[in-house]
């Protein structure tokens, strides 16, 4: 049987980097094909070539036996390739229908928009996916999952027969991800060929039929999913066996020493009152579903949003949470959820990103920055967190996700921080870098730093945290520790005690 899609011997170079080297990939109709590899392995480059965003230096794209020559995204769309990017390409202020038909609105006999017709068509697409999504509210008001389903519906409306899903589950809750898998199975029945990119092994083994593993721009292996194991795939992916991605569990917490004591904190005047203690050397997890109020509390703790009422003390002294600058002075730092929009200054080099809030320490008698000292310190910090970059002058936008996250971490290591809040520190990061970031966090706690880690990934919370606060609907539903800290109890409290 000829494959629906066949990428043959694709190579691609960027100035100074060989991004892809002789990569081939076959996807059959009705197949979910996992594309696996660490960040920087070349998955995204390959997919961008498939979508006509980049052009390969060598090799062919063959769809239905016909060699295609893509000169842009539009060519790929016309050939039946649809892609769901990590960052959605929907217009937040338009509703589902307008988004699906953006740029190719149906028209009635008068040449005006045929809204009823478009609604009917959209409904047909949603029925095909077996989803129900409100059609007349701006999609910004919908859940991330619904937005993703709209993206898929849009791709299908363009007659996509090959669908690329680039880390679609990264921002979904477990139940939403399950819904997505149901939709993917439905599409499999309808003979759509799918390329699925994910860092989650259990998802790959749940939904995929075949898998291609890439490393350093080359194809390492491809095989049927039934003939492999997660450990086997990870080994191929990183080129070595990763026994356990979490550091050996060792509690550095001193439960007699409260570093941050939140006696009473209300974000809104009428909102729930939080109270929580963070101990020296502790890793406290904020578990819960996306949107359960974890990030909001973290933002309140550093004063990025000013709480309506706060009685908080740090090492026994009452403190005011006015501004992230106050938090910085107190030794509280936040590594935000979204590296690109909240963490990094993308046009800046690694060095400038790292020294951003450390600059005053490089000043002499005059308020001038000593460049040499700044560069040396940045280089040391980069080395200490093992950032892989050609030099400190490299623009941070050129680095992979894992290395970008390390740059954000390095920024805070320049301060003697007492409390660090990591908001989803490993989202979109490959296994190798994840493991390194976990190890770094443990190194910090060994030095007496206290960590709050917001995470939607249960294994991460279980593997790393000494204690976890579980959020549900904006409040802390439970604090779990020791034996009680297990996946059942976390899910139980995170879903409002409804499950189990």
């Amino acid at each position: 049987m000829t494959p629906l899609l066949s990428l043959r011997h694709i190579s691609k170079s960027f100035p100074g980097v060989k991004a892809l080297q002789d990569v081939s990939l076959d996807v059959h109709a009705g197949e979910v094909h996992a594309l696996l590899g660490e960040n920087g392995a070349g998955k995204s480059t390959l997919m961008k070539i498939l979508c006509g965003i980049y052009r390969q230096d060598e090799g062919d794209i063959i769809i239905d036996g016909k060699t295609c020559d893509f000169h842009g995204y539009q060519d790929a769309l016309n050939a039946g390739v649809g892609i769901i990017f990590q960052e959605f390409s929907l217009i937040p202020d338009l509703d589902a229908v307008d988004n699906i038909f953006l740029g190719r609105e149906l028209r009635n006999r008068l040449g005006l928009r045929d809204r009823p017709g478009m609604i009917r068509e959209a409904q047909r697409l949603f029925d095909r996916l077996k989803v129900s999504i409100p059609m007349d509210c701006p999609i910004a008001e919908l859940s991330v999952a619904d937005q993703q389903f709209i993206e898929i519906a849009k791709a299908l409306s363009l007659d996509a027969r090959i669908l690329v899903l680039d880390e679609p589950t990264a921002t979904l809750t477990p139940s939403e991800a399950d819904h997505l898998f149901t939709i993917m199975r439905e599409l499999r029945e309808q003979q759509v060929g799918m390329v699925f990119i994910s860092h989650h092994m259990e998802e790959i083994f749940t939904i995929c039929d075949r898998v291609t593993v890439m490393r350093d721009g080359e194809k390492v292996d491809d095989c049927d999913i039934v003939s492999t194991t997660p450990d086997d795939l990870i080994e191929k992916m990183v080129g070595r066996r990763v026994e356990n991605i979490f550091p050996e569990h060792r509690c550095d917490a001193d439960y007699h020493d409260v570093v941050l004591d939140i006696e009473a904190l209300r974000l809104d005047t009428n909102g729930p009152e939080h109270s929580l203690k963070l101990h020296r050397g502790e890793i406290l997890g904020f578990a819960g579903l996306v949107g359960s109020g974890r990030t909001e509390l973290a933002m309140g703790l550093i004063g990025a949003t000013r709480p309506a009422h706060a009685k908080v003390s740090m090492e026994g002294k009452p403190v005011k949470l006015r501004h992230p600058a106050t938090a910085l002075k107190l030794g509280i730092g936040l590594l935000p959820e979204s590296r690109k929009t909240q963490g990094l200054i993308l046009p800046f080099s690694c060095r400038d990103n790292i020294s951003l809030n450390n600059l005053t320490q490089f000043q002499g008698a005059l308020p001038l920055i000593r460049r040499g000292q700044e560069s040396r310190t940045a280089a040391e910090l980069m080395a200490s967190v093992r950032v892989k970059a050609p030099s400190p002058e490299t623009p941070v936008g050129d680095l992979s996700g894992g290395n970008q996250q390390k740059v954000v971490i390095a920024r805070w290591l320049g301060h003697q921080c007492k409390v660090l809040i990591f908001d989803e520190p490993t989202r979109g990061i490959d296994v190798g870098a994840k493991s390194e970031i976990y190890a770094l966090m443990k190194e910090l706690t060994a030095q007496g730093v206290s960590i709050i880690m917001i995470s939607s990934e249960l294994p991460e919370v279980l593997g790393l945290c000494d204690r976890a606060a579980v959020f549900y609907h904006g409040r802390i539903a439970a604090e779990l520790q020791g034996e009680d800290l297990n996946s059942q109890s976390i899910m139980h409290h995170a879903t409002g005690g409804l499950s189990s």
Binding site: I302, A304, H323, P324, A325, A327, L328, K329, G333, L334, P336, T341, Q342, G343, L344, I345, L346, P347, F348, D352, S355, L356, N357, L359, T360, Q363, P367, L368, I369, R411
Partner: protein, 326 residues
């Protein structure tokens, strides 16, 4: 460029590497453009490359250049300051009015500069603390400043200024005319501020990603307030030079100057969306505008046509720099 070529003993490879790095700086293409236009004007016009015309050109360009220095800061942080022209006129008329009323020139100048700074701070408060879009805030205050200047003067120029006041517009120090000297001073300070201080780095960071800057513990609002205060101050410095040159306070001066200043900043390679640019680029941009004005005048091109030519050159220059810079 000449610095590169004259470095002895550099191998070809390191030379091309350094050239590549040079090309990535925002001033590279503006500088090339400036040189090209400059040479073109010199070839077309015999009177262009005379020392008296060069001094003339720099003096003419100085007022826009000084305003553009402040504008650079606003644009660098992702903002803009439309109120600079009227603020310049207001500060100038206040200086003139105070001197005519018998206030000693030095004190009158200081007070006039303070008026500019205060007006800039007024902009800054709305932008930084009320979170309003700079283009709207400064559009509104543009009208306010113009109106205040007209009210203060009753709509008439204020003349009869003390003779020693002419020094700032017509005098010279160490053989250099004061407007040029002041311009050099403003740019020297601007360069040190942007390239060698923490404050400067924060301004780039704010333009690059304001939210990330704030979350990493930088008091973004304070720096924005500072930016608009400085922009008001540079407008007032321009007002000082203009008033001194004309020896009268003109309430209607500076109409359209904000546009020339923005053009200078953008011609100088800065991104209008913020985060990218160099103060020296702005100087090159302002001088490029000056060369065009001066050269076209010498060629006897009609002022109407000059506007068209200038506009086209700005479009072309920005098109090229957009294409070339990553």
């Amino acid at each position: 460029m000449s610095q590169l070529a004259s470095t002895p003993g550099t191998t070809r490879q390191s030379l091309s590497l350094r050239l590549a790095r040079w090309r990535r700086t925002p001033v590279f293409y503006p500088l090339i453009g400036f040189i090209v236009v400059f040479i073109a004007m010199a070839v077309i016009n015999d009177n262009f490359l005379t020392s008296s015309n060069m001094v003339n050109l720099a003096r003419q360009a100085s007022i826009i250049a000084i305003i553009a220095a402040g504008m650079s800061l606003a644009i660098l942080t992702g903002g803009i300051d439309l109120s600079v022209g009227p603020v310049m006129a207001l500060s100038g008329t206040v200086m003139a009015g105070l001197m005519v009323a018998g206030v000693p020139p030095v004190l009158a100048i200081v007070l006039g500069l303070l008026v500019g700074a205060a007006f800039g701070a007024f902009n800054g408060v709305f932008v930084a603390f009320a979170g309003m879009p700079p283009i709207i805030v400064t559009l509104a205050t543009m009208g306010i400043a113009r109106g205040l200047g007209l009210i203060y003067t009753g709509g008439y120029p204020i003349s009869g200024l003390p003779q020693e006041f002419a020094f700032f517009g017509r005098g010279s120090l160490a053989g250099i005319e004061m407007p040029i000297l002041i311009m050099i001073g403003v740019y020297a300070i601007g360069y040190v501020l942007l390239s060698h201080t923490a404050t400067g780095r924060y301004l780039y960071a704010i333009g690059g990603n304001e939210e990330a800057t704030r979350l990493s513990g930088i008091r973004v609002s304070r720096y924005k307030l500072l930016v608009y205060t400085l922009s008001g101050t540079t407008a007032a410095i321009a007002g000082l030079i203009l008033t001194s040159r004309l020896m009268s306070g003109q309430p209607n001066a500076g109409v359209g100057f904000e546009l020339d200043a923005i053009a200078a900043v953008v011609l100088g390679g800065a991104a209008i969306t913020g985060g990218r640019g160099m103060i020296l680029g702005t100087l090159v941009g302002a001088l490029l505008l000056g060369v065009l004005n001066n050269g076209l005048n010498l060629m006897g091109v009609s002022p109407y046509l000059q506007n068209v030519i200038k506009g086209l050159i700005i479009l072309l220059a920005i098109y090229i720099s957009r294409k070339r810079t990553p």
